[in-house]
Amino acid sequence: MTLQEMDNEMTMDCLLLAGRMMIESGAETYRVEDTMLRMARSQNMPDAQCYATPTGIIFSLGKTQPTRITSISSRVTDLQKIALVNSVSRKLTSHIITLEDAYDELKSIQKTNYFLPTYMQVIAAALASACFLIMFQGTWSDFPIAFLAGGVGFYVLLLISQLTKVKFFSEFTASLAVAIVAFIAVKLGLGKELDKIIIGSVMPLVPGILITNAVRDLMAGHFMAGIAKGMEAFLTAFAIGAAIAVILSF
């Protein structure tokens, strides 16, 4: 293997790792392509070609250069990781750091878990749910019930998504938990408005990043990615709605 080939291998690994991490954390597809191409150009590879979808990336360094594929099976929402990868790529393209440094940084970013501890996330979700209740003109006396229902719902979501990879099932179960808690609370006379409590507590489950990215990908002309993400968002909405419908039909 010549020196040039080894260099190319390194560039390829680095770029694919960056692209992969961005898609896995929920970045827009067009932005992933753009970032990878910018990084390639900064490394004197002007002919690089990239094709990214939410489930995989195809990347080629140029005409006679090798092409590599990486497939991506799971995606979460991790805005911090997107920001970190973005700053590494900015530093690389403005030649503040070398390719080796960038690769090391990306690897350490990949290994680190940036999520807050579970209880903090659950508290945040519970607080958000209770606040959404007030925003949707609920009464203050329902505040604790929405807090509880939202927290329980989000905890169930985290728990089930660790057990199974089927997103639809974990969202359905989480929404079901929210509806059950709200239903029991209202039946016991602790809560007043079932509708408002459920709507508020279900808000943390709404797939915000999917909706945003679907739109932005569609507008950037990436119809494959846009439709795929729109479909995923629709499935999530359907899962939430179906679980609530189950409870309401009693």
Binding site: G26, A27, E28, R31, T77, D78, L79, Q80, K81, I82, A83, N86, S87, R90, Y114, F115, L116, M120, Q121, A124, A125, L127, A128, C131, F132, I134, M135, F136, F154, D195, I198, I199, V202, M203, P204, V206, G208, I209, I211, T212, N213, V215, R216, M219, A237, G241, I244, A245, L248, S249
Partner: protein, 153 residues
């Protein structure tokens, strides 16, 4: 008074959502602020009697503009600020009512709510896109102006 409570509550709601989405810790406050601006515009317009579809459009429009300014300031992708900001505008209540009426076999009413929810989603989308094009044109104009000045001097 009601408006002030709404603004405060929307800050905590949006910041909470930002925590769930694991936004970088130093911009959590700004994420919350984006939500306050968007919800504030929506709430005030809707309370003055504007249709919720139009109010959602203006809310999303302002959210995208503020998010763009923050993205430039912090050198971070714009998504980080938009994502948690638009969550309050998502027509959860409408979708819930649609689902509820369908379950109760009142398909006509359910369809009405469903269509309204669809329209609101469309308005949010259009608002985001318009703001993005708008702000790009403005920045382009500013940049070309600067170049003209430099070439003159």
């Amino acid at each position: 008074m009601n408006v002030i409570i709404q603004l405060m509550v929307s800050f905590f709601a949006t910041a909470g959502i930002a925590v769930i989405f694991n936004a970088p810790r130093k911009v959590l406050f700004h994420c919350g602020f984006v939500g306050v601006v968007g919800w504030g515009i929506y709430f005030i317009l809707a309370e003055r009697g504007m249709d919720v579809v139009n109010a959602s459009f203006f809310g999303a429009f302002v959210i995208a503009i503020v998010a763009h300014l923050y993205a430039r300031r912090f050198k971070m992708p714009m998504v980080i600020f938009i994502v948690s900001g638009i969550i309050p505008l998502v027509p959860g209540g409408m979708a819930y009512n649609a689902m509820r009426n369908v379950v109760e076999d009142d398909y006509l009413q359910g369809l009405q709510y469903g269509l309204k929810a669809f329209l609101i989603t469309g308005a949010i989308v259009v608002g985001l896109v318009f703001a993005e094009v708008f702000i790009r044109l403005i920045f382009k104009a500013i940049l070309t102006n600067k170049e003209k000045k430099y070439s003159r001097s």
